[in-house]
């Protein structure tokens, strides 16, 4: 009889004692003993000796899932705030109208009450979730009857859909992207796991999606999937995923210039490839056609045309020079498309909404911008945005390399956030995502990168505090932010990232000036929280604390923008140098 399995001596795998470069920043050597450099490393300490990814990955996904679900126990936007409620009600309402109305009415129905103003993929997503929810309890999505419903089970269902959407889109995308990206950058698997946890526990995204209630991770996930496809060299898939991201949330436009410049660059440098360019253009067009297809088909039926013929014309259609028969198919198609575009891009709204930590809001504090005409402001904002994204776009166009994508994406997204039109405080998630993904790169967990990425994330979450406070999310805000800071060894829990190490030759450390600026910002945030909590604002300036938050935030984001641009330039220079060296060698 064979001995029981546990008698078999377990295989002891040998692992190289010297790790590749990137692990140096994770292990602190103290008196001959190695110890983890920051707490997150300790949690994966026993995984460093080649524990299978089949074990590490499920555990990581389960753990971060628990934190997501725990945040989702708390309040959501618009809870018990009749008559309009908030984002939760908006999403629920869209599930209600998409499941009950013909497609022709989706972008027309009662626009005053949370009319659908997201692109088609969100509409399809809502339809699917609405169908699922109706199967469980039809009263959750009964047309008109269900407005403002706050059933606890409905909350569980809606929260569940956010988690499910994230685990089906964002998480697979990030896991795959990291796997490819770290391999490309020669980063050890262990560091990649640590970066994965850091990225998945990023507080801002969790608080907005699972607390405030939105489906940002679907859009962000599609963007990451698009990046992953680029790394894999599948440019056409990248186009499809990116069109999907745009089709889910128009905010993905923040990334569009970089991807456009990159894909164009890929077709031109080092040599011009017309066929590739044509393919990319064609696939993008087809993807858009597929995206709008169902809605267009839904608009050309007999009944649908009747509905559209009697509805008020969207302004864009009015501006069209041609006159169409109101009952023709062409009119229906044009109507549907222009109506969607009109709903999705609200040109008629102001320069910024609420108080947001961008340049316009900051300038407005000292120099009122009302005095200018709306069209002038629009042009100003367009000019400033273009100016801010020009350098990164040119660089990525000239050097279309996958390794430059992340800094380029973050600097362009910061540019948009700071200078573009109609920015929400939640839009800060867009620049934060590519910036946080930098943690997975070569030297991504070094003190310098960790300090900058961590600082930008904590600052970004902090600027959303007024919003989170309205949603009764204060406790999750403090818990998630402090937890993340603790795990990453960042202030206010630790100064580890800013402390110099004795043997500091190999790993990048933050510059003295960086240290000073960051510490000042952290102190400002802490002081702001104390003041906000205990000192009532002067009666003639009730928004004083929020304005202060915006000013500090805008300053910090400007710095983050500069750092990302600087990183990009630095990496481009390195590439140029390498190329120069290689050509020199060849010449010799």
């Amino acid at each position: 009889m064979a001995p029981p399995s546990s008698y078999r001596p377990r295989k002891k795998r040998k692992f190289p004692s010297s790790y590749a470069g990137s692990n140096n920043s994770l292990i602190a050597e103290l008196g001959g003993k190695s110890s983890p450099a920051f707490p997150l490393v300790s949690f994966l300490w026993s995984a460093r000796a080649g524990v299978s990814q089949w074990l590490v990955l499920p555990l990581v996904l389960l753990a971060v899932g628990l934190f997501r679900w725990a945040v989702s126990l708390w309040g959501y936007s618009g809870f018990q705030v009749p008559p309009m409620h908030g984002d939760f009600e908006a999403q629920r309402h869209w599930m209600e109208i998409t499941t009950h109305l013909p497609m022709a009415k989706w972008y027309l129905y009662d626009l005053q009450y949370w009319g659908l103003d997201y692109p088609p993929l969100t509409a399809y997503h809502s339809w699917l979730l609405g169908k699922l929810g109706t199967a469980i309890d039809p009263s959750w999505f009964a047309l008109d009857q269900s407005r403002g419903l706050e059933d606890p089970l409905l909350k569980v269902f809606m929260r569940g859909t956010v988690v499910a959407s994230e685990y089906l889109v964002f998480i697979p995308a990030v896991v795959n992207f990291l796997r490819r990206y770290t391999r490309m950058q020669n980063v050890p698997v262990w560091s990649a796991s640590i970066a994965l946890v850091a990225i998945l526990l990023q507080p801002a995204t969790i608080l907005i999606d699972h607390g405030h209630f939105q489906y940002n991770t679907v859009m962000l996930g599609l963007v990451v999937a698009s990046l992953d496809a680029i790394l894999a060299g599948r440019m056409l898939w990248a186009c499809i995923f990116f069109v999907g991201a745009l089709g889910f949330k128009q905010m993905a436009l923040y990334y569009a210039p970089v991807l456009f410049a990159f894909l164009l660059g890929v077709c031109i440098f080092p040599k011009i490839r017309i066929l590739r360019l044509l393919c990319i253009a064609l696939v993008t067009l087809v993807a858009f056609a597929v995206l709008f297809g169902p809605l267009v088909i839904g608009a050309i039926g007999e009944e649908a045309r009747e509905i559209l013929a009697s509805a008020p014309q969207p302004p864009l259609l009015q501006q069209l020079p041609i006159d169409l028969d109101k009952h023709s198919v062409l009119y229906a198609v044009a109507f549907q498309l222009t109506q969607i575009i009109h709903r999705v891009f609200p040109f008629a709204r102001g320069l910024f909404e609420d108080k947001v930590a961008n340049a316009w809001c900051a300038v407005h504090t000292f120099y009122k911008l009302h005095r200018f005409e709306a069209s002038l402001l629009q042009r100003m904002s367009l000019g400033a945005t273009l100016g801010s994204i020009l350098i990164p776009c040119i660089l990525i166009f000239r050097h279309p390399r996958a390794s430059l994508l992340l800094p380029a994406l973050s600097s362009v997204a910061w540019g948009f956030f700071l200078f573009s039109f109609q920015v929400h405080e939640k839009s800060v998630l867009l620049p934060l995502l590519p910036m946080t993904l930098l943690l997975a790169g070569d030297g991504g967990l070094s003190k310098e990168t960790r300090a900058w990425v961590g600082w930008a994330n904590i600052l970004g979450t902090w600027t959303m505090y007024p919003l989170l406070k309205r949603d009764e999310l204060r406790v999750p805000y403090f818990v998630m932010t402090l937890l993340w800071a603790y795990l990453m060894g960042l202030p206010p829990t630790s100064l580890e990232a800013y402390r110099s190490r004795d043997s500091s030759e190999d790993s990048a450390e933050p510059h003295v000036l960086t240290k000073l600026v960051h510490i000042c910002f952290y102190l400002a945030m802490i002081v702001w929280h104390v003041v906000e909590a205990f000192v009532p604002p002067p009666s003639d300036k009730p928004d004083l604390w929020v304005v202060l938050n915006v000013l500090i935030g805008a300053g910090g984001f400007g710095l983050a923008y500069l750092w990302c641009v600087w990183k990009l330039i630095q990496q481009c220079r390195k590439i140029d140098q390498k190329v120069a060296e290689e050509t020199q060698k060849k010449n010799q």
């Binding site: 546990s6 555990l59 126990l73 606890p152």
Partner: protein
């Protein structure tokens, strides 16, 4: 193997963050029970503590726990004075919830302290094993479900238990071990179930010479006697002087309850009930008499007064006799070999015996087995094999405690997380035993583990789909407790073998 990461403190910090996020989660009536006790101890004179009955949740823990509630109530007026009013039944303002949940987290520091003492008490070469075992207790899904969602103070109480077990490790601290355990008994009398093991061990190792039974240590006996009597006098003395002891006895030992608790703890009686049910359709063919009264009883299986249709009734005396018998067996070995590991094994087996055969056992009492067992589960692979089914069954049996939709992911995902992490880690580090293994339960336990998944799915979703809401609700409960009972009994038998052959 000197590096021990993540450290206990690091895990405690992350776990605390998670527990704070659980503040708004479902809470059982135990929350109101403890709020009421806060109110009673804060606003009434001590003489009335055990007589107050405005709320149905009267004070039924021993005096130290009442004093503990009094201590906790001291800071409460600054948070929300309304929670301290006895008449404010079911008061749960968010301040009250935050405050009470926070007290659970803070008092759990005792557990953290006890575990760090435990790790330090282990010799250097085995310290990493103790460290992993401590982490498994600190992060136990049992404590998370019962304390931080359902609401109780087990973290604190089990901290004291572990402290007393750790103190029993060295001859020089045996006295303190006895004192701690006596104090623990005055906090919660459920630990009486383990007291025989303490009694035998202290008697043998402290009051007699460990090497010879015939050399009594008179001085030690006097010291221990005075201390233990002193502790009990401190707890019960005041009440004795007011002539309230009988009232206390009625409150602490309410013997009017039934054999099985509402949610069927996974013990022998759950299997007995299951067998009884299964026999009903077969009875006519086998020619067995059927108790018609029990058959028609509406409350059967759900409420305490279980009665059996075919199998003979079980009385309190039966359960006591069985519990005592199965506690006695391991104690004989402890008497003959009074070392620390045998002692912890005996504590575990006392927990097993009382859980499996006791009268009106709560499913929560399974921690009484799991926690002492965790301390020695990594002794070698034989111990670990016996521990594995217990870890699964014990935690799965706690699932019915939480039945709300929002908490479903916590109990399942967290338990699965813990099982994967620690069963894998234990499997990696558990040393090979010196003796050959006696039972070949690996295949059985693998089968057992895999059955858990469809069972949980059936009980949480499948049952409602098949029978509709609110019908045959006892069925999933009965399945879970029978399944878990099988695991607990299996691991008990396995551990008995390991214990007696070690």
């Amino acid at each position: 193997m000197t590096e021990l990461y993540p450290s206990l403190a690091q895990c405690a910090i992350v776990a605390t963050a998670f527990k704070i996020l659980l503040f708004p989660a479902y809470k059982s009536t135990d929350f109101e029970v403890h709020r009421n006790w806060l109110a009673i101890t804060h606003s009434l004179p001590v003489q009335e503590w055990y007589y107050e009955k405005t709320s149905e949740w009267t004070l039924d823990y021993p005096p130290f726990f009442a004093a503990f509630e009094w201590l906790l109530s001291q800071a409460a007026p600054y948070v929300d004075p309304a929670m301290l009013v006895v008449k404010n039944l079911n008061h749960d303002s968010w301040q009250t919830v935050y405050y009470q949940r926070a007290t659970v987290i803070v008092t759990e520091l005792v557990l953290l302290f006890a575990l760090s003492r435990f790790v330090k008490s282990v010799p250097e070469q085995n310290r990493h094993l103790a460290h992993i075992a401590s982490l498994s207790i600190l992060l136990s899904p049992g404590l998370l479900i019962i304390d931080h969602i359902h609401f109780q103070y087990n973290g604190f109480l089990y901290g004291l238990l572990i402290l007393s077990i750790v103190l029993a490790r060295k001859q020089s601290t045996l006295l303190y071990s006895g004192i701690t355990f006596a104090a623990l008994l005055c906090f919660k009398h459920i630990y009486l179930y383990l007291s025989l093991a303490y009694f035998v061990y202290l008697l043998r190792a402290y009051c007699l010479d460990p090497k010879s039974v015939f050399r009594p240590q008179i001085l030690n006996t006097i010291k221990l006697g005075i201390c233990v009597v002193g502790i009990f006098a401190l707890a019960f003395g005041p009440f004795a002087s007011w002539g309230q002891l009988l009232q206390l006895k009625d409150r602490l030992f309410p013997f009017s309850r039934g054999l099985c608790h509402a949610y069927w703890a996974p013990n022998v009686w759950a299997m007995y009930s299951f067998a009884d049910r299964a026999l009903i359709p077969l009875a006519p063919r086998l020619g067995l008499p059927v108790n018609q009264e029990a058959l028609t009883s509406v409350t059967r299986g759900l409420v305490g007064d279980t009665s059996f249709a075919i199998l003979p009734e079980v009385t309190k005396e039966h359960t006591f006799a069985l519990t005592f018998l199965f506690q006695l067996l391991p104690l004989i070995k402890l008497w003959r070999r009074p070392d620390w590991e045998t002692f912890v094994g005996a504590v575990t087996l006392c927990g097993y015996a009382s859980f499996l055969f006791g009268w009106h056992v709560h499913e929560k009492a399974v921690l009484l087995i799991i926690i002492p067992f965790s301390l020695i589960a990594l002794k070698d692979r034989r111990y670990f094999s016996a521990f594995r089914p217990l870890a699964v069954a014990g935690h799965v049996s706690l699932f019915p405690l939480l039945f709300t939709a929002a908490e479903f992911p916590f109990k399942t995902v967290y338990t699965v997380f813990w099982l994967i992490l620690f069963l894998f880690a234990f499997d990696q580090v558990a040393p090979v035993p010196e003796r050959r293994r006696v039972f070949y339960a690996d295949r059985f336990s693998l089968l057992y583990l895999t059955v858990a998944i469809p069972l949980i799915i059936y009980c949480s979703v499948g049952h409602q789909l098949i029978f509709g809401l609110g019908r045959y609700e006892f069925l999933p409960l009965m399945f879970i407790s029978s399944y878990s009972a099988l695991g607990v009994v299996g691991s008990w038998v396995g551990f008995l073998v390991v214990y007696f052959t070690a």
